[in-house]
């Protein structure tokens, strides 16, 4: 093999693809979207309401209005104004239905955000919230919590229970999770942060494989349909061509990862995000599995991509490979709940799943050194096998136009020396 030619092909692949709009978009847009998805929900959630909202109250028990107003006075907007103002609709002289009709009109006229209706039906209290936007979970939760507390207090008083004593006895409880490691007990960053760290890692891996894999298959289709392949194969051997492409593709992937890491580090610094030491400690291993996974899928794309002859076929192929890639996302939750289970351990040795599963396991519970060594060995072996098979298929398939080989032909190519 002529290394100069391999490097020239790699350089060509890299510069041509790195200049493509799709690559530049994915280079910039992916981290931007990650940041946006990461930060936007929390920013929106923290922001809450920006102006005072009028809430109608139809209270057939007659006992909620006062204490609820007191409670709501504690909730203020950043400008000091109250978040909610209650507007009561008495039900003593008017039927409850006409009160509801009145609130509905106000809601539709947008002079009122929503209305809380409390009915006492044979000793059982039924509370409902009416609004054009009943899915405002934050608001619903707040009123639900307040009203529940008021009604419970009222019932306790009626039953002769000392509410002060009850308040002391009935304290709400939050369980703190502590992760036990070799270094002793450390306060865990919580399930969600771990989960999202792994999840984001997997999504980045998927985007990486999909974008570069797709552009590889695309360029192979172009080279075959334009017959550039003839020129390439007369200028170098198919093996050189394959290695050049793999190398160029890897450089492309590495560029993308480097860009993401830089953006990630910059935003961690800028937003002063505290990353759990567990995730930081496993970062080199995460990177290793990511690279191994990338090499595995890139070699797979080269072999399978060389069989493709049309743009449509290339889409079908990439979507199938993507499905395989996405599969571990489906059982990410299971892995996080029980990273030690036999099935998770066994599936970690399936090369298609190893990178993603191990990424999740690394942040949830560090697998044993034997498992790390075993899965890395399996990945390296799998990459070797895939490159070998892809090389065999590649050298024949790249010169086949308009006809897909049969399975039998594929087997024959693999057997050929």
């Amino acid at each position: 093999m002529n290394w100069k030619r391999i490097l020239q092909i790699a350089r060509w692949e890299f510069t041509q693809k790195a200049r493509a709009k799709s690559f530049i978009i994915s280079l910039i847009l992916t981290p931007a979207m990650m940041l946006l998805f990461g930060l936007l929900p929390s920013m929106l959630a923290d922001k809450g309401n920006s102006s005072t909202k009028v809430i109608g109250l139809i209270d057939s028990t007659g006992s909620v209005m006062m204490p609820l107003s007191q409670q709501l006075k504690l909730d203020t907007l950043p400008n000091g104004q109250p978040e909610f103002v209650l507007q009561s609709y008495p039900t003593t002289n008017t039927p409850i239905d006409s009160a509801i009709a009145a609130t509905d009109r106000a809601i539709l006229a947008e002079t009122m955000e929503g209305a809380v209706v409390i009915r006492d039906s044979a000793g059982r209290v039924v509370v409902s919230y009416r609004s054009t936007n009943p899915s405002n979970i934050r608001l619903v939760n707040k009123f639900e919590h307040h009203i529940e507390k008021i009604l419970n207090t009222e019932r306790m008083v009626a039953a002769g229970i000392d509410t002060a004593a009850w308040g002391r006895a009935n304290q709400s409880l939050t369980m703190e999770t502590v992760k036990v490691t070799e270094k002793g007990g450390e306060k865990s960053e919580g399930f969600l942060q771990t989960f999202f760290a792994a999840y984001i890692g997997i999504i980045l891996f998927m985007i990486l494989v999909m974008t570069t894999g797709q552009s590889l298959v695309r360029s192979l289709v172009e080279e075959k349909s334009n017959r550039i392949m003839e020129l390439l194969v007369s200028s170098g051997t198919p093996q050189e061509l394959m290695w050049g492409k793999l190398l160029g593709l890897s450089a492309l992937g590495a560029t993308q990862v480097a860009a993401w890491v830089i953006v990630g580090m910059a935003s961690v610094g800028y937003f002063a995000v505290v990353i759990s030491p567990d995730i930081l400690a496993s970062f080199p291993l995460i990177l290793l599995y990511l690279l191994l996974g990338y090499a595995f899928y890139a070699s797979l794309f080269i072999g399978i991509g060389s069989l493709v002859t049309t743009e449509q076929e290339s889409q079908v192929i990439t979507s199938y490979l993507t499905m395989v890639l996405v599969a571990p996302m489906a059982f990410a939750f299971v892995v996080m709940q029980d990273p030690d289970s036999f099935s998770v351990a066994a599936l970690s040795y399936v090369p298609f799943l190893t990178p993603t599963l191990m990424m999740i396991r690394l942040v949830t519970k560090m697998p044993s050194p034997a498992e790390l060594a075993g899965t890395i060995a399996v990945m390296v072996a799998a990459i070797g096998v895939v490159i070998w098979a892809s090389g065999k298929i590649f050298r024949t398939a790249i010169l086949m136009y308009g006809k897909r080989p049969t399975f039998r032909e594929l087997l024959r190519w693999l057997r050929q020396a």
Binding site: N2, W12, Q16, A20, N226, E230, L231, L232, S234, L399
Partner: protein
């Protein structure tokens, strides 16, 4: 010299190349002729080492294929294309680098070739912005940029206008005079006749005819008459002394019975056609091509791309 000896290549049930032996010598243009699907391109792909023969051997100035020989082959494929989104100069430089040409040298040569092909100023244009003919010129530059000893061109003039065909011809003449070995595959006989020193005609994977253009013409020299006229010459085909006829809109080439003379022919023509020229000629390569292929297949074949043929021969007795 490129020497291919007894090449065989089978694809599934098709014996695409069946014992082809050819020799293209240094300092000559060797024409590889044949109808579509004859096995020309398969032969060429074996010579360029893109595919391997099932049996037979190929040597380049006596040596088998090697990596250094790969870099001394300039190849223009029959069905060809380029990276459509890439720029012209960078594409040329990429392929030059693959053939081991130093960047500075490649740049200098590329500028020279682009000037000769009247493409100066297009260096930074994208391939897709060029006309088909101009794309082909870029492909020719790619085939020649590394100054190859062995130049293998598969239908190089298809897509070129007459002016550029002439330019290609002069370039090939010059390369031949420089001592390169040129293998030129075509099914355009007029070109082969004008350009090639020696030819081999391939049909159904076999060489059916070989030698210098003169030799081939002499060996297959029949009793031929070329004429130009005004009028409908289709009746010529039915004349008793005519064995074979290529009828064009304003002329014809007739193969006469061995004993027939011009004097036998003229009485049948006078009054029917306004003759402007008539002479006894050697058969054109085109006629020989058609006759040989027909003889080999034993059936009528449609006239190939030979530009001016309007009616093919129907009453061959051979």
């Amino acid at each position: 010299m490129i020497h291919a000896e007894g090449l065989h290549k089978q694809f599934a049930t098709v014996h695409a190349v069946n014992g082809v032996t050819i020799q293209a010598r240094q300092g000559e243009i060797f024409g590889l002729l044949g109808p579509n699907g004859a096995g020309k391109s398969t032969t060429i792909r074996m010579i360029t080492n893109i595919i391997h023969p099932d049996s037979g051997s190929i040597t380049y100035s006596g040596a088998p294929f090697s990596d250094s020989i790969r870099s001394s082959i300039g190849y223009l494929a029959e069905e060809r294309g380029l990276y459509q989104k890439s720029r012209i100069l960078e594409t040329i430089l990429h392929f030059a680098a693959l053939r081991g040409v130093a960047p500075d040298t490649a740049r200098r040569r590329a500028a020279d070739w682009l000037r000769r092909f009247e493409l100066s100023g297009s260096e930074r244009r994208r391939v897709e912005e060029l006309s088909k003919g101009n794309q082909q010129k870029v492909q020719l530059i790619i085939a020649l940029i590394h100054q190859p000893q062995y130049i293998i061109l598969d239908e190089p003039s298809s897509g070129l206008d007459p002016v550029n065909q002439e330019l290609l011809r002069s370039i090939l003449d010059q390369l031949r005079d420089d001592g390169r070995t040129i293998l030129y595959s075509t099914h355009q006989m007029e070109q082969a006749e004008r350009l090639c020193n020696r030819i081999a005609l391939i049909n159904k994977g076999k060489v059916v005819l070989a030698g210098t253009v003169q030799q081939v013409k002499e060996e297959h020299g029949g009793n031929n008459v070329a004429m130009e006229f005004e009028g409908d010459g289709r009746f010529l085909r039915g004349l008793p002394m005519v064995l074979d006829a290529n009828i064009y809109p304003n002329g014809a080439e007739l193969a006469l019975q061995p004993a027939a003379t011009l004097n036998d022919l003229l009485p049948h023509i006078s009054g029917q056609l306004q003759i402007t020229r008539i002479e006894r000629v050697r058969p054109s390569l085109n006629s020989i091509f058609i006759q040989t292929v027909r003889r080999a297949t034993g059936e009528a074949i449609p006239a190939t791309n030979s530009n001016s043929i309007t009616h093919s021969i129907t009453n061959s007795t051979t």
